[in-house]
Amino acid sequence: MAPDTTDDDRDKKIAKLQFLIGLTNLQTSQQSKSKSKSKSKPKLDRFDSILEMLETSKPQIPQVEQETYPSRTINAQLQVEKNVIGIYENFLEKGSNNIPEIETLKHVQYVRFYLQNPLPVEMLGYDSLHTWTIYWLLNARCTLGGYDKISKVEKDAIIDKVFSFWMDETDAIGGFSGSDGEYQLPHIASSYAALLSLVIIIDDDNYKRIKKNLDVEKIHQWLLSLKQPDGSFFMHTNGETDVRAMYCALVIINLLGIKDEKLTENCIEWLVSCQNYEGGFGGDLMDEAHGGYAFCGLNALLLLIDTPKQLYDLIDVDSLISWMVKRQYGMEGGFSGRTNKLVDGCYSTWVGALSPLLEVVTGTEELINREKLQNYILCCCQDPGKFGGFKDKPTMRCDFYHTNYVSCGLSFCNSFHFIDEDIMKEDGLAFSFKAAKLDDDCPLGLVDPVFTVPIGAPLRFKKYMKRE
């Protein structure tokens, strides 16, 4: 298609001009619609949605405040708004033909490249995060539509690799470490990531091998050794305690079926006290409310209780919801992790997963604005070039962590979740989440909001662990 360039340019200029003087852009948007008959529906929706976003939202900080009380927060926020608006305007100018879509192929290439090839020395920092890097890439690949495409060769290699991080701390206790080689300490978060990788790849063919290698009793004893009287867990020997460690420990406990009174003692009391005055959760008692810890805190509770309604007896659900929806910024569309902080793509999962969970708890259809979050992800977290991967914000570079949590967030944008009551009664609340796509054409896989792995995988793993 080769449109008349002069007309096209004129249209672009009009669009820009109307935009800048703040006129409603309905006309331009309709023009673009009629011009691109061949375009599929979601694309046009997105064009309008971006347009609406820019027209209806105001800069977060009023002019008066900018001038009277300049500050670091204001500078940083203005800079991001400027960048993001520039990007959105640029896409609008190009017309509805060019509104970005998820470039699945490119991202899959990115993920597969890094699973296949050794990492350059510049990525040395990952030497304490090995099990995480495997989980991030593997799960991103599943979310990007490759869940059923992992070969036996790859699965076998992953099992070997994951178990190469198994560490017996003593004869009685053990867990997974994050670093290469012997004499490393097992670490709760590293073990969580190791286990999630196994959850993703377990099947009829390999479950016996996984079961044989997994010393559940040693993990059980190890977790007990890290348990504190106040309910919390140390991340590792000489390590810190926080809501992250609690969530990761509870995921492990639930997946391995080792829940007992000693391990769960005072967990609920401790978690509840981490909900802070803003409604979100901090990492520890009275720390600032933070998206990552809110994800861990809410999910840790869901891993402990039997029905969603019990949540109301434990925490202030309304103020958690109020805090959560405030994380979304009108102009950017994405989420921030804390009050008065900047948007960042990874909160599409940390905060983005809270929405389906709280929608289920409250019986509400939609709490956050999925469409606008999707605009941020597609326009601001993907690189326009040929290299894949996702990132925090336009000025940043792609990395494994953001690639996983942004793709999960994108999946949440395109799905809704519900509870299977039978599974809830039989296997527990945390295992009972199911999902459906909002748009059948969406190429992304469905993601479990509690475990952040493909939906259904945690229950399957749990069942394999019980099978002879």
Binding site: A157, M286, N369
Partner: protein, 332 residues
């Protein structure tokens, strides 16, 4: 180590020649068959350091040369938690009371921590580690601990990044440990932080902790009336300066929530901001609070109107949320 190769440790002043290295496995970058699954092409430096560290860890050697090795590794990868833990074990031995310079091992270590912290502002381990070293110092040489030193480094770190989560969290633990809730300098510091950036939510959170922490942590049965009214006034004053700032509204709300005070008494304050609708400074928070006040007044119709206004005009990005709040009204 082979003699012909220059060693990263050659200027260390320590002798490692008696150690049999346990090397990291070699990686063939040209192997295209097996997925590498994030094997790292380590540098020779790093390989050498780790290959020596492992036999030392295995033998539980707590020596100066082991300490030096951990330093070299943490310099290259600050997130290496096993090395941090090992370093702590080494220090525990080196600072024991029967050692002549036990206390200076620990005070030097605090200085070293500061250097590492400045180079790795986002690191998880460093602040927790520092806390462990201070505990050791307090346990063994309490008179050697200088509380002013903590203030200095914290001030510097929060100057560099005024919302550094780990540093604020450390500061909170520090206040709790030394019962500094009422210390004048601590209060002044946090008020200054808020005054220089009213949107520094971490500072607001810390202020909340100083004022209401003991109550929340059940160290105190009540909060003094004067504290409550001072803090409410402070929040109101800052809301008036910047009515769209969520930090000050959340602080005000938080006080009412934690003390179970009745928000109806905020009505006249809130309506100042809901009556005047400035072009670009509509306070969504004021409207949200007003809607809640109407609910308590059992005026659901008024509350509904506010939610509709928020959904349609004032805050459309959260249309789903405001619709949800509206729907909740009929349930009540």
């Amino acid at each position: 180590m082979p003699n012909e190769k220059s060693s990263v440790l050659q200027d260390s002043g320590f002798d490692y020649s008696d150690i049999t290295p346990i090397p990291l496995k070699t990686i063939d970058p040209n192997d295209l068959k097996t997925p590498a699954l994030c094997d790292i092409l380590y540098s020779d430096d790093y390989r050498e350091l780790i290959s020596l560290l492992r036999p030392l860890m295995k033998a539980n050697e707590h020596s100066q040369r082991a300490l030096y090795l951990t330093d070299m590794i943490i310099e290259r990868i600050a997130g290496h938690y096993t090395v941090w833990s090992y370093r702590y074990n080494i220090l525990e031995t080196l600072s024991s009371k029967d050692k002549s310079n036990g206390s200076s091992e620990l005070t030097n270590e605090l200085a070293w921590c500061e250097e590492v912290a400045l180079q790795n502002p986002k690191n998880y381990q460093i602040w927790h580690y520092r806390g462990l070293i201070i505990d050791l110092l307090l346990d063994r040489y309490p008179d050697q601990f200088d509380i002013e030193g903590e203030y200095k480094i914290l001030k510097h770190m929060l100057n560099e990044d005024n919302k550094n989560y780990h540093v604020w969290s450390y500061r909170r633990l520090f206040v709790e440990k030394f019962d500094l809730f009422d210390k004048k300098e601590e209060l002044q510091f946090v008020r200054d932080k808020i005054n220089e950036d009213m949107r520094n939510n971490s500072a607001w959170n810390h202020l909340f902790f100083l004022k209401f922490g003991r109550y929340k942590l059940k160290l105190q049965k009540t909060v003094d009336d004067s504290v409550v009214s001072d803090e409410i006034s402070f929040a109101k004053e800052l809301i008036s300066k910047a009515p769209t700032n969520p930090s000050s509204w959340n602080y005000l709300n938080g006080i009412y929530k934690i003390l179970k005070k009745n928000i109806i008494e905020l009505k006249s304050f809130v309506t100042q901001f809901t009556n005047l609708v400035y072009e670009d400074s509509v306070s969504v928070y004021a409207f949200e609070l007003l809607a809640e006040i109407h609910v308590l007044e059992k005026d659901l119709e008024e509350s509904k109107k506010v939610y509709e206004l928020l959904a349609k005009t004032l805050d459309p990005v959260r249309v789903n949320y405001w619709e949800y709040k509206k729907a909740q009204l009929t349930v009540v």
